[in-house]
């Protein structure tokens, strides 16, 4: 009887999760930093909202705070070193040895990283949520927050898939670390991580909605800030398919190159 999902997926997921949970100190430090970030960013926006008569493009103090809680939770759940690490692994030969395994390289990597992001998502949500509860109280809509919950792992998955597609550049260029900076900043602005996309001027907003980055922060944030827009989840799923295909294509082409050219 063929399994629907190959066995290695489960193993990879739990491996990733376990790795993160095995370093509770690191998780704790991450949570502390997270509290600082959410605290700082949400304060910024609350001051802005206050100065504009209590509402800015449909966001009040409470909803803008919860927006930041969720956008940061999603964004920070993915390791900030991910692209650099992939690049290092490609250049260092680790990927070459992974190709000897009877499972797709990019598949395993994505699964492990996704597994690792899950405990971080939980930790971030707890940390950021605490900050929000203390400063503005509960979320504007519990229903919307429930919708945001599946959006979080979807956001992390999209982020990881895109990162792997991006980092695949390292099969050809050796130094992917610099690509990471650019990638992160794209999520910054076009992903709606630090700025709710409603605040961004028209032309930029249109571009942002057409790019995949909004799945990685904006979607969970928009939902969690009290806006019931379940169609956003479909957008995430659609982009996830596209991005995973892109990542697979890059890695397959790259692996072929490794086989031809050597490590």
């Amino acid at each position: 009887m063929r399994r629907l999902v190959p066995a290695w997926v489960g193993v990879a997921l739990t491996t990733g999760a376990r790795r993160v949970l095995a370093a509770p100190g690191g998780l704790a430090v991450g949570m502390a930093i997270h509290v600082l970030i959410v605290g700082a960013v949400s304060t910024l926006w609350r001051v802005a909202v206050e100065a504009n008569g209590g509402s800015l493009d449909g966001y009040d103090a409470t909803s803008v705070t919860w927006y930041m809680v969720l956008s940061e939770a999603a964004y920070m759940a993915v390791s900030s070193r991910i692209i650099e690490d992939i690049g290092d692994d490609i250049a260092g030969g680790a990927v070459a040895s992974e190709m000897l395994r009877p499972a797709p390289v990019v598949g395993i990597r994505l699964a492990v990283q996704f597994g690792a992001s899950l405990p971080r998502l939980v930790a971030n949500l707890v940390a950021g949520g605490a900050v929000a509860l203390v400063t503005v109280g509960g979320p504007p809509s519990t229903g919307a927050l429930l919708l945001a919950l599946p959006a979080l792992p979807l956001a992390a998955a999209c982020n990881l898939a895109a990162a792997h597609a991006f980092a695949g550049v390292a099969f050809w260029l050796r130094d992917a670390g610099s690509a990471w900076f650019l990638y992160q900043k794209l999520i910054f602005i076009f992903g709606g991580m630090l700025l709710p996309l409603q605040v961004v001027p028209g032309a930029m907003r249109a571009i942002a909605f057409g790019l995949p980055f909004m799945t990685m922060a904006y979607v969970p944030a928009r939902l969690g800030s009290g806006h019931v827009e379940p169609q956003l989840l479909l957008v995430q799923v659609a982009w996830l398919v596209v991005l995973t295909a892109a990542a697979t294509a890059t890695f397959t082409a790259g692996e072929r190159r490794l086989q031809a050219v050597g490590g």
Partner: protein, 255 residues
């Protein structure tokens, strides 16, 4: 002093040997900084003038930050690793030389990528900071004071590893300071604001120098220089006392 200069020269020479990736990395550092510019411009464009801060002053803040962070992490690249080196026992190589360990340690490594940030900060000031000789002078001195502050703070945070045994205090301090320095301190109230002027001096690192360029106040300027000196002294003291503990062997996990 000759030895210090020689070490610095050696560090630069070594950093420049990796020229291939350098250009790409600097370009992307620029991109990183530009994204922050875009954020502030968009933010203040929408939110308007807030507590004395607007887009122009925010860009001033960013230019000071890029300059001082670039100098700190570029020229004194090892300041980020003091904690880890202390808890790993890697200071022995420095102790084998007839030099004062802290300065030598700090400049032993140079990261030219961060020097790109310095250029960016300078460029940003010239473009958006409404430069005149007076403002430029304040920006320069302010950035240098800010660099001293950052150095002092990071050395102190890292040197705690001598006492706590873990190199993570340095990393945590690093992230906290760099994070909070990105925001104008005036946005925060009460206790947080106090913290930003004292324990994690993010306000002095960016907000104060930026404000001084726009509205020079001798009292505030004196406070900035004083804070810088104080943190440098704290760094020196923590490291020196820490080194004594290192020398007693109590820092190591393996003999």
């Amino acid at each position: 002093m000759r030895g210090f200069a020689a070490t610095l020269r050696g560090a630069f020479a070594e950093a420049l040997t990796n020229r291939r990736a350098f250009g790409a990395q600097v370009a992307l550092m620029f991109g990183n900084d530009l994204a922050w510019c875009a954020f502030w411009v968009l933010f203040f464009d929408r939110a308007g003038n807030l507590r004395g801060w607007d887009g122009t002053r925010a860009l001033l803040l960013l230019s000071v930050f890029a300059t001082s962070a670039g100098l700190t992490l570029g020229v004194f690249a090892n300041v980020r690793h003091v904690g880890q080196m202390a808890s790993d026992g890697r200071l022995d190589a420095v102790l084998a030389l007839p030099v004062s360990p802290l300065p030598h340690l700090l400049v032993r490594q140079v990261r030219t990528v961060n020097l790109g940030d310095v250029l960016f900060g300078l460029g940003l000031f010239l473009v958006a900071g409404d430069p005149d000789p007076g403002r430029f002078g304040i920006y320069l001195v302010g950035s240098l004071a800010s660099t001293g502050l950052m150095l002092g703070f990071l050395i102190t945070a890292g040197s705690l590893a001598f006492f706590v045994g873990s190199g993570e205090t340095g990393e945590a301090g690093f992230h906290a300071l760099l994070l909070l320095s990105n925001y104008p301190a005036d946005f925060f109230g009460g206790l947080t604001k106090l913290v930003l002027y004292t324990v994690i001096p993010a306000a002095f690192v960016t907000a104060v120098p930026a404000k001084l360029v726009d509205e020079f106040d001798p009292g505030l300027a004196a406070l900035l220089l004083g804070a810088s000196a104080a943190f440098l002294a704290a760094g020196w003291a923590t490291f020196t006392f820490g080194l004594r503990r290192y020398s007693s062997g109590s820092v190591w996990t393996q003999a």
